[in-house]
């Protein structure tokens, strides 16, 4: 599975395809203030990125890819 959850810490890695978005979405609804580790991520689908943004979680480790980084800057703005 490309995402792992330990308490409030959500770690994504590798490629996160559109199919992950509903699962991640369900998982995040149960977590009050998620903290994201995304430095292992190679690429995430737009739908997954949207779930992360909508969760208003805290981005602790940023993705290396500049496009993803720019996209998730919205996450910080949304908080």
């Amino acid at each position: 599975m490309p995402f792992a959850i330990e308490g409030a810490r959500v770690t994504l890695q590798g490629h996160c395809a559109v199919e992950e978005a509903p699962d991640l979405f369900q998982a995040l609804i149960a977590i009050e203030r998620p903290v994201f580790d995304l430095d292992q991520v190679v690429y995430i689908h737009t739908a997954v990125a949207q779930v992360l943004i909508a969760s208003r979680g805290q981005l602790e480790r940023r993705p290396a890819d500049p496009t993803l980084a720019a996209c998730l800057a919205t996450l910080e703005a949304a908080r």
Binding site: V18, L24, I29, T46, A47, Q50, A54, T67, L68, A70
Partner: protein
């Protein structure tokens, strides 16, 4: 060639033809909604289909044309003659590109440049039609201008960084708002943005207010992407071509990024700075100005508007000194007042306006449906297990792309694809494809699942390579020849073997095969029959263009465009017709002022009328112009040495008028651009005669002229009469023969050294075939002569032969090898008993 491309090419040509003829109609009846819609749909479909191939310049040019038509359709602009010219010109270019695509599966090398020039011109018309009120910059007159509001929302640090990287280069600002349901089509907007060329700045914003997480639909797209790229707008347009209607691309200058943002700070220090800075700016003290700026920046709150303006001042100075004095001056004003007067952001939109999603367009998806059906079939064909998933992905990708390019609702596509993959059940997907005609499923389609691959409800048209039909035609022709052999066999059975019964039975068998062969021949010929419309549809355009070039006013009337003829006949007809029509326009019709003086209506009329006459197709091109000046034709013919002066005097009006078909004849002294380069009507006649036809001229001086072309309906099978001449058989095409007569040799009169006879009160000259062919003329004339009266070039001539033999249908093959160019013969045919029959080229012999 790629099978998809092979299907696209003829479809594209049809669409281009349809659009062109619609556009022409629009010129005469502007504002006709049905026609505009038709043209729009053709262009829209062409754009959609072209998106499946690597033909970016073509897609973009067609897109620009579509925008213009969209505006016309919405009533925003009228299609003037100039615009019509422009649109037609663009369709010609697209037609040329399609030709290139067919030849080498790629667009010409200059397509990119041509596409952008032409698109700019098209968008120029569009811009002119837009209401005034948008700021217009003097530097680029035609292009519409608008500001890019959201540029100021980009983080200043990123704008500054981009400015420094590309201070002197043009940039492109773009905004991409994906459709809500794009995930269902397999789109990943972020991936698309990630690979966009030259991205310097990227901002991703939700396009709605976000509520709590559980109120959000995870499979709806609600992000909007804004970016600045260091890339040509054309490259971006190419990158985003599949989502063109959701993307706006605007060319900007780096200086357009210099927008100060922040809260206003107050204080007298800013006014003092402004006074000082302006003086420094005027006197060109770069270093002093730079020092003043950094001094003030040191004491200004960094988040204030003034601090931001100071940073941009510094960036300008650093990148280009005082070159951008106007921009610096505006920034100084912002520092002084604390209000950022937005510099007018003058930029030409290169983009696809977002309003382009044409909802009421019926998506024409004949090509699309065929493609989808083929993809489904491909997947259902069993293949190796290890490449199964790869194969499925390829199929799914194409189908998704198809849905996207057709602008179809894709929400049911993924489940249908899943069914296809897991259960190998193609029904759900086929049902989805069936809805192609409109967005709603028709009850019939929903109730009755489509039969596998049958394309229920569509006219069942088969596109077949012409070569295959020609092969069948050749086989039928050979069958006809072989069938003729049975007659010879029957004769032999009776003569050599003395079996009359056998002979009769063979003849019976012959008549059965004959009937079937005739049916077969008719069937194949009807496949090759095309309506004349194929040739005639280019004329409205041609007449319009030529008439405009000549400053004449012309109405074109086309009659009988449904008349059918063999494809080869049509092809041989096209060039002569163009020449004749051009001649009518150029030489025949008078200018509007001349016509008015003559008491004729200002508009000249050119009429092209086609009809069937037994086994011929007859096309008559007539005009109501000045007609052929017979006196000048005679004069000219004498001057050119074509006929002697006395012969010219003796000629009847009709004969003289037909002189214009002789080689090297042209009456107009001034050679025009359009017709009359000395290769005139003689070329027309040669072409038509080669195709087995004939041309004549009917002239009424002062009132007009008509040129009448007669062509055989089909060229594949020729009916001939065989004649005997000194023991040798020759064939004469039946079309040329008016009648056959047996003549008492005393009835032949000698007129000096020529012979003639009287046939129904007309003198018909006589030639002896043996003499003309250079055969031994030893035999004295018999008491009775066999004479074939032929009609060549409108004149009747009697040809004396030794005897008539049977008539037959046969395939005439051109002479090849060492016989090629043998004068006097137009070809050869195989006789039923295996002998070779030479076909006489009578027009040449006589």
């Amino acid at each position: 060639m790629n099978a998809l491309l092979a299907q696209f090419i003829p479809e594209a040509r049809d669409l281009i033809d349809r659009a062109a003829s619609g556009i022409l109609q629009l010129e005469t009846s502007p504002g006709d909604g049905a026609i505009i819609n038709d043209v729009f749909r053709a262009v829209h479909t062409l754009k959609g289909s072209s998106g499946l191939f690597e033909v970016g310049p073509l897609t973009r040019l067609v897109h620009a044309a579509e925008d213009l038509l969209e505006e016309a359709r919405a009533g925003g602009m009228e299609l003037s003659s100039d615009i019509v010219d422009n649109l037609l010109g663009n369709l010609d270019v697209v037609g040329r590109w399609i030709d290139a695509l067919e030849r080498r599966e790629a667009l010409p090398d200059d397509a990119e440049d041509e596409s952008s020039q032409r698109s700019v011109a098209l968008r120029g018309w569009l811009a002119k039609s837009k209401p005034a009120g948008q700021p217009v910059a003097a530097s680029s007159a035609a292009a519409a201008r608008r500001t890019v509001e959201w540029l100021a929302e980009l983080p200043e640090t990123e704008r500054l960084a981009a400015f420094k990287v590309a201070a002197r280069r043009p940039l492109a600002a773009w905004r991409f708002e994906p459709e809500e349901d794009c995930f269902f089509r397999g789109d990943d907007p972020l991936a698309m943005v990630r690979h966009a060329p030259g991205v310097l700045v990227l901002r991703v914003v939700p396009n709605r207010t976000l509520g709590a997480l559980d109120t959000v639909d995870p499979l709806q797209c609600w992000l909007t992407f804004q970016g600045v790229s260091d890339a040509a707008p054309a490259a971006l347009a190419e990158h985003f071509r599949y989502v063109a209607e959701r993307v706006e691309i605007v060319e900007i200058a780096a200086a357009d990024l210099a927008i100060p943002v922040g809260a206003r700070a107050d204080g007298p220090v800013f006014r003092d700075f402004a006074r000082l800075a302006r003086r420094q700016l005027e006197t060109g003290q770069v270093e002093a100005l730079s020092n003043s700026i950094s001094a003030l920046a040191g004491i200004t709150a960094p988040a204030s508007l003034q601090a931001s303006a100071l940073r941009w001042c510094a960036a300008h100075l650093e990148s280009s000194g005082l070159e951008r004095a106007a921009e610096i001056e505006a920034l100084i004003a912002a520092i002084e007042t604390g209000i950022a007067h937005r510099l007018p952001l003058f930029t030409a939109p290169i983009s696809f306006p977002p309003a382009l999603v044409a909802t009421d367009v019926q998506h024409e998806s004949t090509l699309g449906e065929r493609l989808a059906r083929e993809q489904i079939e491909a997947w259902l064909t069993p293949g190796a297990a290890e490449i199964e998933s790869g194969r499925f992905e390829a199929v799914a990708r194409t189908v998704r792309g198809l849905f996207r390019s057709l602008g179809r609702d894709a929400s049911e596509l993924e489940p249908a694809l899943a069914e296809l993959r897991q259960k190998r059940d193609a029904e759900p997907l086929r049902r989805l494809m069936e809805f192609a005609g409109g967005s709603e499923p028709s009850p019939r389609a929903a109730a009755k699942p489509a039969q596998a691959g049958e394309g229920a409800g569509l006219p069942r048209v088969l596109r077949v390579d012409q070569g295959k039909i020609d092969t069948i035609m050749n086989l039928v022709a050979e069958l006809i020849v072989a069938k003729n052999g049975l007659n010879f066999l029957a004769d032999r059975a009776e003569r050599e073997h003395g079996s009359r019964v056998m002979s009769r039975e063979i003849k019976d068998a012959h008549s059965v095969i004959d009937r079937i062969t005739q049916g077969l021949q008719l069937g194949v010929m009807s496949v090759r029959m095309m309506p004349l419309n194929q040739v005639l549809q280019r004329f409205p355009r041609l007449v319009r263009d030529v008439a405009r070039a000549l400053g004449k006013k012309v109405d074109l009337i086309i009659e009988g465009e449904d008349t059918e003829a063999d494809k080869n006949v049509l092809e041989s007809l096209a060039d002569p017709l163009i020449h004749i029509v051009r001649n009518s326009l150029d030489h025949g019709l008078e200018t509007p002022s001349e016509r008015l003086e003559l008491g004729k209506p200002e508009h000249g009329t050119v009429r092209i009328a086609a009809r069937n006459e037994s086994d011929f197709v007859v096309i008559e091109v007539s005009d109501d112009g000045r007609g052929v000046n017979i006196a000048r034709v005679r004069e000219k013919a004498v001057k050119l040495g074509i006929v002697t002066a006395e012969r010219a005097e003796q000629m009847s009006e009709v004969e003289a008028a037909n002189l214009i078909f002789l080689p090297g004849f042209s009456t107009k002294d001034q050679v025009s651009d359009l017709s009359g380069r000395g290769v005139g009507m003689d070329v027309v006649r040669t072409t038509v005669v080669k195709a087995g036809g004939d041309v004549t001229l009917r002239n009424s001086p002062g009132r007009g002229a008509s040129v009448i072309i007669r062509l055989p309906l089909t060229m594949a099978v020729t009916r001939i009469v065989t004649v005997d001449c000194r023991g040798q058989l020759y064939g004469i095409p039946m079309d040329l023969i008016a009648e056959t007569v047996r003549l008492d040799s005393k009835a032949i009169q000698r007129v000096s050294n020529a012979e003639a006879f009287v046939l129904r009160n007309a003198i018909v000259p006589i030639v002896r075939l043996a003499e003309r062919l250079g055969l031994d003329n030893g035999e004295a004339s018999a008491a009775e002569e066999a004479v074939i009266v032929v009609s060549v070039g409108g004149e009747r001539v009697g040809v004396v032969v030794d005897g008539f033999r049977e008539r037959m249908e046969t395939v005439v093959k051109p002479l090849t090898g060492i016989l090629e160019g043998a004068s006097g013969f137009s070809g050869a045919a195989l006789l039923g008993d295996g002998r070779v029959l030479l076909i006489l080229d009578l027009p040449e012999i006589l």
